[in-house]
Amino acid sequence: MSVRRLWTIGAGCALALIAPIAAEGDQLLATVDRPAILTATPAKPLQGAAADQPAPRVIVHVTGYQPPQKGAIRGVVKVQKPDGSEQEIGTFGVFPNTAFKADFSRARRYGFPLPKELATGAVKLKVEVVPDKAPGTAEGAQLEVGGAEIQ
């Protein structure tokens, strides 16, 4: 086995240890008909990162995107509250509006404020794909979510 291959496996194991792990039952691919559903778990701040972040945030890692056949989409992030209802915590776009695929370490990350009362532990998230213009259909659009964490 080559040194390069060993190094790659080692790096992969290290990433697996620090990456948010999709929980059983998570649906990580969002289309216009079907949202991604996943669990965001609390994570420790990254080494060397700003330590004075006061408000909890949900970080969504997007590992893949397929634009719609026409136009663009919005990713809408909702969190499930203890009573079962949903609260929208943010919206994001993908720029440039072109297909991409990335491993978890190179995922595009989007941060959204999480209401403090919901930041007591793991939370269930829904990521929806919505056409960005009223008459749009977003047909063909896909968002692949690699995971989510609470920081």
Partner: protein, 519 residues
């Protein structure tokens, strides 16, 4: 006494230091003079010198070849295939694009000879549709350099609240620290955050976590306009700079409101080495710390002095005095007959059937276009201004001409689940016309049955009257017109509050009065 931020900066000799740091010679600094005001495109006339200069500048840059040309400047940002030097998803996103815009601003000043030029901004928080000057293929019979035919958005498509509405903007402006506001520092593939000033960190694309400013209005407005604007070579679309100018303005607003830029030298000490070009084609390599304050860079976003806290009390008194003029307007039951001083008034009786969801009600009122002109062309404060000083924002509101409509003695029925939307001079109005349309004025509704309470002393209950401020809509629709209209068509469109429910509400005022308050 009031002191503007600009004055403070000038008196503090910051200009000299900033300009030296920004790779400009002392002579250029002197020639530049006071910082130039970057203005909103909101209501800007098509022949405004700023728009005319931008049009000329874009045309000249498109015609040029070599370093200082439209194609080459755009390639600094990215090509059809990928980003080039611009950082996205990375904490250099804001300062890099500030310097990038600056290179356009300086090049256009040089090419056109208009040293008063400053980039205008598309304030999509106020104007949800693309600015009119950018959507017409021709201008004065010539090809319009600001038009881009590949855009996906049509002139009537509107950005939704979820992208640029007040809730999103407020969420952005309260963010702190910088890394949650302006996207966080890059973290390499080995999961170690940036730990040196190597140039490669600038282009560590998507290595940080996008804050709301980048993820929401920035990314989504690019996608909304679409075509080239949605791609890495988006700087080929002349609307790119107006969009990014508003992003830059929101950064400025955030810092004016006390938002702290990152104190980390890994951010402020980074130099964008040979990323940009001066107007003469020489490299422009600012450090992030050179880019934190616009004024030393030759531009500003506000020309209205902000009151110091000590002056706020006296200003508040002035606001009270000014608002008396408005109180008198609301105190009378008929503006047209009461004729309060300083108010031009017009009225029309309503003879058409009541508004229903199937058929909106339109009331046409003849007005004096000359009286309306100061309303259409009034200077409006930048959005987010209220975040800096509520007192200043109130005073701005009361200064200058305004226009109101009063719906008198309103009959309504079956108003459950009905929202009554008011539009002005909209030629394509339907229940599907969104509240983000430029012709939208506002909405009203009713609570309880009509005449639910008896009138005072047992008399018959009075029918309600409503006052509606038309000023912003008039600015938006007619600010860029040479002459405002001589008819204001006030339109009431009932719609369902909950889309799934029935909306049978009707409404009809007995008359509509229009009041134009002079400055």
């Amino acid at each position: 006494m009031t002191t503007s931020r600009r004055e403070v900066l000038l008196q503090g000799c910051v200009i000299g230091a900033g300009i030296i740091a920004a790779n400009m010679t002392g002579m250029e600094a002197l020639a530049q003079g006071a910082p130039k005001l970057r203005r909103s495109l909101h209501g800007m006339a098509p022949n405004d010198p700023i728009l005319q200069t931008w049009r000329d500048g874009v045309r000249l840059l498109k015609a040029a070849s070599g370093n200082v040309s439209w194609a080459n400047f755009a390639a600094i940002h990215g090509t059809a295939n990928a980003f080039n030097l611009c950082p996205h998803g990375n904490w250099y996103f804001l300062p890099w694009h500030r310097a990038y815009l600056l290179s356009y601003e300086r090049a256009v000043r040089q090419l056109t000879g208009n040293n008063e030029f400053a980039l205008p901004y598309w304030d999509w928080t106020q104007d949800r549709q693309m600015p009119p000057a950018f959507v017409e293929p021709t201008f004065n019979g010539q090809p319009n350099p600001l038009f881009e035919e590949q855009r996906d958005a049509t002139p009537t498509d509107s950005l939704p609240d979820s992208t640029v509405g007040p809730g999103i903007i407020n969420q952005i402006l309260v963010q702190t620290p910088f890394e949650t506001f302006g996207t966080s520092r890059p973290v390499g593939p080995d999961n170690v955050a940036q730990n040196n000033l190597d140039q490669s960190w600038i282009n560590c694309e998507r290595c940080g976590t996008e804050g709301t400013l980048e993820a929401t209005p920035h990314d989504l407005v690019h996608g909304f306009v679409g075509g080239i604007m949605g791609q890495a070579n988006s700087a080929l679309d002349p609307l790119f700079m107006m969009h990014h100018c508003n992003i830059d303005r929101i950064w400025w607003t955030w810092t004016q409101g006390g938002g702290p830029d990152s104190p980390d030298p890994l951010w402020s000490g980074m130099t964008f080495q040979n990323n940009f070009l001066n107007p003469d084609g020489a490299p422009y390599s600012p450090m992030v710390s050179d880019l934190l304050t616009p004024e030393p860079l030759g531009y500003t976003y506000i020309d209205t002095p902000l009151a110091l806290p000590s002056a706020a009390a006296s200003q508040a008194a002035a606001v009270v005095a000014q608002s008396d003029k408005y109180k008198s307007l609301y105190a009378v039951s008929n503006v047209a007959t009461a004729k309060p001083s300083g108010v031009a008034s017009y009225a029309a009786s309503v003879n058409a059937p009541a508004a229903t969801m199937a058929k909106y009600l339109e009331i046409s009122i003849d007005v004096d276009a000359n009286a309306l002109a100061p309303v259409a062309h009034r200077k409006s404060p930048p959005s987010g201004f209220e975040a800096l000083s509520l007192t200043n924002a109130r005073q701005q509101y009361l200064n200058g001409a305004r226009c109101y409509a009063f719906l008198r003695e309103v009959d309504y029925a079956e108003h459950a689940n009905t929202e009554y939307r008011v539009f002005l001079n909209c030629d394509y109005l339907s229940p599907n016309t969104p509240t983000t349309d430029r012709h939208y004025v506002g909405s009203f509704g009713f609570f309880g049955p009509q005449g639910g309470h008896g009138g005072h002393g047992g008399a018959e209950a009075r029918k309600p009257s409503l006052g509606i401020d038309l000023t912003s809509t008039i600015q938006r629709v007619y600010g860029s017109a040479a002459t405002p209209p001589e008819k204001l068509r006030v339109q009431i469109q009932p719609v369902a509050l909950r889309p799934a429910g029935k909306a049978n509400g009707t409404v009809k005022p007995s008359r509509v009065e229009v009041a134009i308050i002079s400055a």
